[in-house]
Symmetry: D2
Subunit: 161 residues, 4 copies
């Protein structure tokens, strides 16, 4: 059984018709799991729905506490890509026995051209197989939390070393 | 670096306008990797484009030989779901040092409602992480080749034990 | 108020997972009208769900009778493209006061690459505006029923003169 | 032969990965015409790519001059929905011999859930059939330019009388 924590980010943004803004009002992760004919038992919980540029220390601590408190040892977290690495660093302390994978999208699921479905499938395999640790799963690659950065120009995650 | 062998199956079927049949003429896996902003180095090769119901022993042996001959140790194979388990069994002999993951789709990529994108993302993570062995990755689950069957009624893969 | 009669055809075909066949089990026209934020009052009725290659004279007469019996004067009919022209000919007799537009799709709505949404939008405008007569609306063109043929090679409808 | 003038609006907005904004950089109308297997001869021209909230009088006059100057008498204009009615009013003066149809979308084409494809199909039929005049084609309805308003709450166009 896998725990999925939703925190928001580009992945779940959708178009608000009244003003043309992209907003976070709900998660589309269940739709993605249905599209993938997911046969896993999943326990999905929305912690928050935030653009990760607006996440504060208190938000990251809340996510960390949620990871600690759950009885499950395999945890997938959806997260905005801009500060995913910062949150991963906060999660890495005192969490020796859990496998935590952070994933996001460069283009929202609501767009035809989104990477969200591929990324979530990818991350869900990583969450099931990887040994305890905190990881970022993006661009069909798995990164340790302390060896990754987002290249703002290309929009790609890269290993530091 | 990952080797992807294409063998056909539902995943790559597309609509032929002239007679309304679903046919295999090319692979869509590159489109899926692009959608997933895949940053991995991939070496993709089409071995055949067959509905797996029409695969013969010689086809499975050809796929096995291709797996043996490649210098790469991490191999993803796209395959029709109907006889995926049979091919996996053939692959399992004398292939102790390679990680081979078979994946397919219940609905072709060309359909809006396809599971192909999710499944390929999932399988690509599994191929990178799993220890040597032959696996089937479907329904967001990883199965050992000798502990899986496709339930024809539900269209879902299930563990035997 | 517009009457929509559903008769089947490629437009409504969907993938049957159990055997990989394309089948007609329901209509997707309501989904298309929702996608188009259709504000018209529509009275939709399924007459049959047939591949038009298998339509018989009795089917065409049934469609004609339905068109005669309805009190509405503006009628849109979804129909397979292969015998759309034959049905249009049957409809043209003794129906002087009604505007009837036949429309179909070369690729089913369930495919990403379908022409169904565009075609239905196009035909719905034609149905509202055209004077009484029987028309075929395909390839962004409007054809009189007696001046059109489907080019089987290109899959395009063409005027005879 | 139909003239299509592109002026921008929600229809053509796309996601800019670097900052997560929705921006206008090109038109998707050719993609939509391809999806609809459009067999019409179309002469497409981008006049501007503007959110219609930022259109000024000079923009509307430029669009009007373009409509006057073209030798074609059937003109489709893509336009943002917020000030479509204002532009239609400007176009209506001294244009007695041309059929001009304005169309837009409530959700950009780049979204899965867009109304753009349906709307463009609808408007393209209207442009071919309607007598000279200036019209707005939205929500599967045709409105005269002087008898329509956009209901900002529902996002729907409504007749005034």
């Amino acid at each position: 059984m896998i725990k999925i924590f939703i925190t928001g980010g580009t992945l779940d943004k959708e178009y608000r018709q009244t003003d043309g803004e992209l907003v976070l009002t709900k998660t589309h992760v269940n739709e993605i799991l249905t599209a993938g004919r997911c046969g896993l038992e999943i326990d999905l919980e929305i912690i928050m729905l935030k653009d990760s540029l607006f996440m504060e220390d208190s938000d990251r601590i809340r996510i960390r506490d949620k990871c600690r408190e759950t009885s499950m040892n395999r945890i997938l977290i959806t997260h905005g890509t801009d500060t995913m690495v910062e949150t991963a660093a906060v999660l890495s302390s005192q969490m020796k026995d859990k496998t935590i994978v952070l994933v996001g999208a460069m283009i929202p699921f609501t767009f035809r051209d989104s990477d969200a479905v591929f990324n979530l499938g990818f991350a869900l395999a990583a969450t099931q197989i990887l040994p305890p640790g905190v990881y970022i799963a993006m661009n069909a690659k798995i990164f340790n939390w302390d060896n990754v950065t987002k290249n703002k120009e290309t929009g790609r995650f890269e290993a530091l070393n």
